[in-house]
């Protein structure tokens, strides 16, 4: 039976133009590896959005990063003050992986 390690799964939904800045914040927290996922639309307290823009200004992207608890906390601390003004969605959960060392 393959040994698993429990880590933290962070998902951040953000406007497309903000993604490079979030990547930089993640790097500050020591998180260099991530995956970007597309989205189609949604509704939040700032209203409804849809990926209907030529500019992509209101398109959103989901950034997924798997990391250890300390780094996850560090990134969350960095992001917390930005959540409200930039309308970000931040989700945290547990996840198990093989090769835990790969994620340090």
């Amino acid at each position: 039976m393959t040994a698993m390690t429990t880590l933290r799964r962070i998902e951040i939904l953000a406007d497309e133009p903000l993604i490079p800045a979030i990547e930089q914040l993640a790097a500050t927290a020591g998180i260099r590896n991530y995956t970007l996922l597309p989205t189609l639309g949604g509704v939040g307290q700032h209203g409804r959005w849809r990926d209907d823009q030529v500019s992509g200004a209101t398109a959103k992207i989901m950034l997924l990063a798997i990391t250890g608890d300390a780094k996850a906390q560090h990134l969350i601390d960095l992001l917390s003050p930005l959540l409200e003004p930039h309308g970000l969605l931040l989700l945290l959960s547990d996840v198990e992986v093989v090769r835990g060392a790969h994620f340090e």
């Binding site: 406007d15 133009p17 903000l18 490079p20 800045a21 979030i22 930089q24 914040l25 700032h46 209203g47 409804r48 959005w49 849809r50 990926d51 209907d52 823009q53 030529v54 500019s55 992509g56 200004a57 209101t58 398109a59 003050p81 930005l82 003004p85 930039h86 309308g87």
Partner: protein
């Protein structure tokens, strides 16, 4: 004549899109197609403007028109900001963001307007494409000044907002295509003209179908719009466009080019400016500024504004020409 204009397929497809959205049809243009068409329109506009400049050479009128464009982009946000604060009752950040949109320009409004002017024998000069490119960004800088943005809490890129502003994809593509047009000239353009010239109006129909859908859907979600902001979405283009036409005629542009300057001044950005505002002024509401520019001003310009700026230019041209 207005009726003739309104019965053109390109306008009718815009209306069709709007009606489809209003009856809650599931009609939709795939996002990737809309983005690709937008790239095509910018390449085509840039190339055709550049080729014309290659033909006519550089003229003093060109420098003058460019100067006017930059001046309009820098100054028009100021009275707009005042109106948005006073009459529109917007807070500082939102008023500044919206003002920046109205100082900047809409490529598709310019494209539709150019076709209308060309059909009426009032083709604007090729260099107006360069003016279009010049007008895209100065308004952004004024908007940020008006917002007196400080914010240590901002995600604004380390490279600075200036970089985002100057190297926005639409600016790069428009300027680049214009320069490719200038360099390769008419003979270089010939082999690619079947795509970038002959198909232009047809593809514009497809794009305006999508714009109709997008504009009407935004209008229906109009959470952020009040009767005050909707009114300003009509008043601002009328004022700005009139100023643009008069300034163009005052510096000696021909009637078609002055009308085009009016169209530029009267149009509001929905590509370059919103992308920067999401970064720089997150507290401003995209539902508001995209609602005003896409759902109010864009349709107004397509259906009424373009014809109006042209009419102003035709009326006043003799006054200034004399």
């Amino acid at each position: 004549m207005i009726a003739d204009f309104l019965l053109q397929p390109v306008i009718l497809f815009f209306l069709l899109g709007a009606i489809a959205a209003l009856v809650r049809s599931d009609l939709a243009v795939p996002e990737a197609a809309a983005k690709t068409i937008a790239l095509y329109l910018m390449m085509s506009i840039g190339l055709r403007g550049g080729i014309e400049v290659a033909e006519t050479g550089m003229t003093p009128a060109m420098a003058l028109a460019g100067g006017c464009g930059v001046a309009l982009s820098l100054l028009l946000p100021l009275p707009a900001f005042g109106l948005l604060r006073q009459f529109g009752k917007l807070d500082q950040a939102n008023a500044a963001a919206v003002a920046a949109h109205y100082g900047s320009v809409s490529v598709v409004t310019f494209a539709a307007g150019s076709e209308v002017l060309r059909a009426a024998g009032m083709a604007p000069a090729g260099f107006m494409v360069a003016v279009l490119a010049l007008m895209e960004t100065p308004a952004i800088l004024i908007g940020l000044l008006l917002a007196r943005r400080t914010g240590p809490d901002s995600l604004a890129p380390r490279g600075g907002l200036l970089h985002e502003t100057l190297f926005n994809g639409s600016v790069v593509l428009l300027v680049g295509s214009f320069m490719i047009g200038v360099i390769s000239g008419k003979s270089g353009f010939a082999p690619i003209a079947p795509l970038f010239d002959a198909l232009f109006k047809g593809i514009l129909c497809l794009f305006l179908l999508d714009m109709g859908l997008v504009a009407a859907r935004r209008l229906m979600d109009r959470r952020a719009l009040t009767w005050r902001t909707v009114s300003l979405g009509i008043v601002l283009p009328v004022i700005n466009g009139s100023v643009g036409v008069i300034l163009g005629l005052a510096v000696g542009l021909d009637a078609g080019s002055a009308a085009a300057l009016g169209i530029l001044a009267g149009s509001a950005s929905y590509i370059a400016v919103p992308a920067v505002m999401r970064l720089a002024l997150p507290q401003a509401d995209p539902g508001l500024y995209l609602g005003m520019s896409l759902a109010v001003t864009f349709p107004f310009n397509i259906i009424v504004g373009i014809a109006y700026y042209r009419w102003v230019s035709m009326q006043l041209y003799p006054v200034f020409a004399s």
